[in-house]
Amino acid sequence: MKNKEHFSREHIAYLKKQKKKKILVTTLRWVILALVLGLWELLTYYKAMDPFITSSPSRVISTIGSLYESGELFYHVGITLAETLAGFFIAVIAGYSIAIILWSSETVRAVLEPYIVVLNALPKIALGPLIIIWIGTGYTAIIFMTVIVSIILCIMNTLAGFIAVDETKLTLMKAMGASRRATLAKLVIPASLPSLMNTLKVAVGLAWIGSIMGEYIVSRAGLGYLIVYGGQVMKLDLVMSATFILCVLAGCMYGIIALIEKIVVKQF
């Protein structure tokens, strides 16, 4: 950071303007949220909308409150969170490893390319019945769903990051007589870190899709289960509450990765 004393008056004015803009954006964000929630609450309060169908912010809060009191809140959140995280880490680690193998051999890459393309295009939900028959209806099935939903993207994105490494730097490594392994460790992996961070951001979103989808198909607990169950018995308060908790959790996880990215990519 530079010392503020060195700034000209013009620059200080510029900084002020930037700060004002930031404050405006943040304020407007909260205003929109407050407007939507307020309108929703009012319309249901004055029965312009049927809270039985649309629920309402106050009912969502009381539903979450009673879930908390009965101890169910952390049970369901914990299960979904565990499934999502497990699926996410397996997908990222396995995807990264497969990408390294694909990077190492152009032949393997060429051979496997059509399979990856088809698997990528396939709607994974189509595999639902197979998963149930092969893996059963436990947590492993949901984690498996999470993995297959996010792994292909992990493979393709990290591989693209590996391949995008600067040609000149690769020539340099070659000219120094670097082995394939040294090139990977000293050049390709560090150079592709920013792309890995991007992959993580997308993968975390897909992991949530996978775990909720998995819970729709097989589960007996978790947020996805609450949503499906709530829908079946017309408990819209429950559906809305679970959806709201999902929004918060997904947002937090994205935020954590964005923070890690900021730290890691600082040196690039």
Binding site: T168, T171, L172, M173, A175, M176, L187, Q267
Partner: protein
């Protein structure tokens, strides 16, 4: 030293075969600075790849001494995630000679050539000219005998280019290294070299060789009265 003896080399692509170099003969003596100039696309870089052993010739023989090669490229190719110092240590790591002694030598070299205050900095904090100097010190860190320079100045703006060019030449001379430079810049070749080798267009073979003997430094050469005449000769031989 380095000698090309009747070297031929062809590229193979799906569309066919392209002869890049044919019947190439020239010699770089120990401690000599030799420049190879030729029309663009004549296979100049191929010559360096052949010398470094990245490519093997279709026919002919390349005779090299016992020493290692150091390769310097058009772009500095510094690793942004490493400090300047860590960049300079890279060849030591790759060649598995990463000892305290070698590191100390590399640091001494960097300090000798004005990088003392930059060692802990990130490459992104350095100017283009400075970065290319770091690239040179990195090349020298593993103590190569022969330096292969692939248009190392062409990505720099004109003023920086003159400075870095003089800089690099004096460092190479004072470290008593043998150097082979490929370039398309006639004045650069005259200013830097003990000998200029002129290549034909593809497939490249040697059109002429000139020993440059007037003046000592690149600056002195550019100001010398023989410079213009030499330039004219080379220009005609290149057919520009």
């Amino acid at each position: 030293m380095l000698e090309f003896k009747q070297i031929s080399y062809s590229y193979h692509t799906k569309k066919g075969e392209t002869a890049a170099v044919s019947d190439l003969n020239f010699k770089v003596g120990k401690g000599q600075f030799v420049s190879v100039i030729g029309p663009s696309g004549c296979g100049k870089s191929t010559i360096l790849s052949l010398a470094a052993g990245l490519l093997s010739p279709s026919s002919g023989e390349i005779i090299t001494g016992s020493g290692e090669f150091g390769y310097m490229l058009q772009k500095d190719a510094l690793f942004e995630w490493r400090s300047v110092e860590q960049n300079i240590f890279l060849p030591l790591e790759i060649k598995r000679v990463n000892t305290a002694e070698m590191r100390a030598k590399a640091v001494a070299l960097a300090e000798k050539y004005g990088l003392k205050d930059f060692l802990k900095k990130s490459p992104s904090q350095l100017s283009g000219g400075m970065r290319q100097r770091v690239a040179l010190i990195r090349t020298l860190a593993a103590q190569p005998e022969i330096l292969l320079l692939d248009e190392p100045f062409s990505a720099l703006d004109y003023q920086t280019r003159l400075e870095v060019c003089d800089d690099v030449q004096s460092i190479i001379k004072s470290e008593k290294k043998t150097a082979l430079l490929v370039t398309h810049d006639i004045s650069e070749a005259i200013a830097l070299s003990d000998k200029v080798v002129v290549l034909s267009s593809r497939p490249a073979h040697v059109v002429a060789e000139h020993d440059i003997t007037f003046a000592d430094t690149p600056k002195g050469r550019r100001n010398d009265s023989h410079f213009a005449a030499m330039f004219e000769i080379l220009r005609k031989e290149l057919g520009i």
